[in-house]
């Protein structure tokens, strides 16, 4: 469906993309995660024909971006990071304009505008000028404008930035509905919970390269990351610690607390607790840290701030 091969892009002397390659199947939602300046928006911009790559190929449904740009563009919808709407026009007029660029016949376009605007919960305000809308409403119109020509592939570049939880939830529901309808989606975000909820596969990008990609489960097992259970005890002595550590070597003691590390804490937790009871330890508090996308992300990209 989507084939990206050896994508490279330089801005002056900065190499923004260093050979990005990936394939996406039809109906898949592919998430792109990465710190600021990692290259996510550059990838989306090249795939949307906003930027020209220095090297590499992109094709969708067999249409090559360089060789057949107009046919390629008919297959894509782009939800840009900026809210690209004409503030002086109504939502309806904005959608009429963006839809007409894709040569959707007028009666069909009007029908689709009504359906899309209804799906995004804006039917009551469709004739109001966009400048009177809240940020969340504008974001929803911005999404609607990319859907009117029924694209096979939708690029969504941080579509939930700066909006209220209600609007964000509605956008999630719309994305899920589009996935159900078989649309292929490429979704970039900074929010891990969004990627976990919406994406079938995730690619973590840093410094212009894809560091790792796969399903969430594949990402969890791809690294050497372990889950942690931290237990605080009322009566931890050296002798008791030695007895525990003999059976459970992968641990770390901090005063009256022991951190136990495991690849699968869910199955190992009961064994740890049984052993603690066996040596006569009184448990005060248990804290479990499971591996989630955020821990994987931070583990792979580091904690260094990216302000470029």
């Amino acid at each position: 469906m989507i084939h990206v091969s050896n994508l490279r892009k330089k801005f002056d002397n900065i190499e923004a993309l260093k050979g990005i390659s990936f394939n996406i199947k039809q109906g898949e939602c592919y998430g792109m995660l990465g710190p600021n300046g990692a290259g996510k928006t550059t990838i989306i911009s090249i795939m949307s024909n906003i930027l020209k790559p220095n090297e590499g190929e992109v094709s969708i449904n067999g249409y090559d971006l360089k060789k057949n740009p107009l046919e390629y563009k008919k297959n894509i919808g782009v939800v840009t990071q900026e809210i690209a709407l004409y503030n002086e026009l109504s939502a309806y007029d904005n959608l009429l304009f963006w839809g007409s660029l894709y040569k959707v016949p007028r009666p069909e376009l009007i029908k689709r505008i009504d359906e899309t605007i209804n799906l995004l919960g804006l039917i009551d305000r469709k004739n109001d000028k966009v400048k009177t809308y809240s940020g969340g409403m504008k974001r929803r119109v911005n999404i609607a404008s990319a859907l009117l020509h029924r694209p096979k592939v939708l690029f969504m570049d941080e579509p939930t930035v700066g909006i209220d939880p209600q609007s964000r939830n509605l956008i999630f529901e719309v994305v899920e509905k589009l996935q159900e309808d078989g649309m292929t989606i490429i979704y970039t975000t900074h929010y891990m919970e969004e990627a976990e909820r919406l994406c079938d596969r995730i690619g973590i990008i840093d410094d212009g390269k894809i560091i790792v990609q796969g399903t969430l489960d594949e990402l969890k097992t791809s690294g050497s990351m372990k889950e942690t259970v931290s237990i605080s005890f009322a009566n931890l002595t050296d002798e008791r610690y030695i007895r525990i550590a003999k059976d459970w070597k992968d641990n770390k003691r901090c005063d009256s607390k022991i951190h136990f590390y495991s690849m699968n804490i869910q199955s190992d937790l009961s064994k740890i607790i049984l052993k603690c009871n066996e040596v006569g330890l009184d448990i005060l508090h248990i804290d479990i840290k499971k591996i989630n996308l955020e821990t994987i992300f931070l583990n792979l990209t580091g904690n260094k701030l990216r302000d470029k």
Binding site: F11, S45, I76, Q81, I83, A84, E88, L89, F97, S100
Partner: protein, 251 residues
């Protein structure tokens, strides 16, 4: 491209400030200037030289300001992300520019028509006996000015820069080209420099129509029309080159 022009026209009609600046302000200027300078240099009761100078001079000057605003709207679209989204749509990128040019020509024609109709209704300028020549001169002047705003936008990074550049350039061109003071009262050197301005050729063309009553086929009149078309073509070609080089350079 038609869709782009329709969108710009829709935006123009919903924006009261644009309407006011394009149509009402020139009418106010023409009215005021005509009261002050309308009879200047007239030799008799039927001499309309002063009126023609005010209408033609003000119209071309205000037209240049209007098209500069249209160039500014292209910068707005770039800054607000609309240009990015347009590049994602299945249209050739140059159509974005052609759309702006066609829109600029339509607004310019409308502005000039309204100015001359107003001069006819308010001050009795006889446009009815010169309709074919007037129509041709309006088309040529509108075309000559249409690329001006886009050329300005190609060199600017912000709308404020477009406004700043346009104010300086339009005021200088208008002063030198005869929009403010008639060319014949200027020193000889200034008269020679004036031929490099669009104002000069537009105003001289309107003089030919109303003061010399030259027919549509007169070679002197047609020469001015060709010069204006030449200026328009040159500006639009520069606009096309600069659009690709500067405006489409998104990041």
């Amino acid at each position: 491209m038609i869709e782009l022009v329709k969108k710009d026209l829709k935006l123009f009609f919903v924006n009261k400030q644009d309407m006011l600046l394009t149509f009402a302000l020139p009418i106010i200027f023409i009215t005021l200037f005509n009261f002050v300078f309308g009879n200047m240099g007239n030799s008799g009761e039927n001499d309309v030289g002063g009126l023609v100078h005010v209408v033609a001079g003000m119209s071309v000057m205000m037209l240049l300001f209007s098209v500069a605003g249209i160039g500014g709207s292209l910068i707005d679209e770039k800054q607000e992300g609309m240009l990015k989204k347009l590049l994602c749509a299945p249209i050739p990128p140059n159509n974005i520019l052609y759309g702006k040019m066609v829109y600029a020509i339509i607004i310019s024609i409308a502005q000039l028509i309204i100015m001359f109709v107003y001069a006819w209704l308010a001050f009795g300028l006889d446009i009815m006996h010169h309709l074919p020549s007037l129509a041709l001169m309006i088309l040529a002047t509108a075309y000559a000015c249409s690329g001006f705003g886009i050329v300005l936008a190609s060199f600017a990074k912000t709308r404020q820069q477009v406004q700043g550049f346009s104010t300086i350039i339009v005021m200088v061109m208008s002063a030198v080209g005869g929009s403010m003071i008639p060319i014949f009262v200027m020193p000889e050197l200034m008269q020679k420099i004036a031929v490099f301005t669009v104002n000069y050729w537009g105003i001289q063309g309107f003089y030919d129509i109303f003061m010399k009553s030259l027919p549509l086929t007169d070679i002197t009149f047609l020469f001015k029309v060709f010069v204006l078309i030449g200026i328009g073509t040159l500006l639009n070609l520069i606009a096309l080159l600069m659009f690709k080089k500067n405006i489409l350079k998104i990041v």
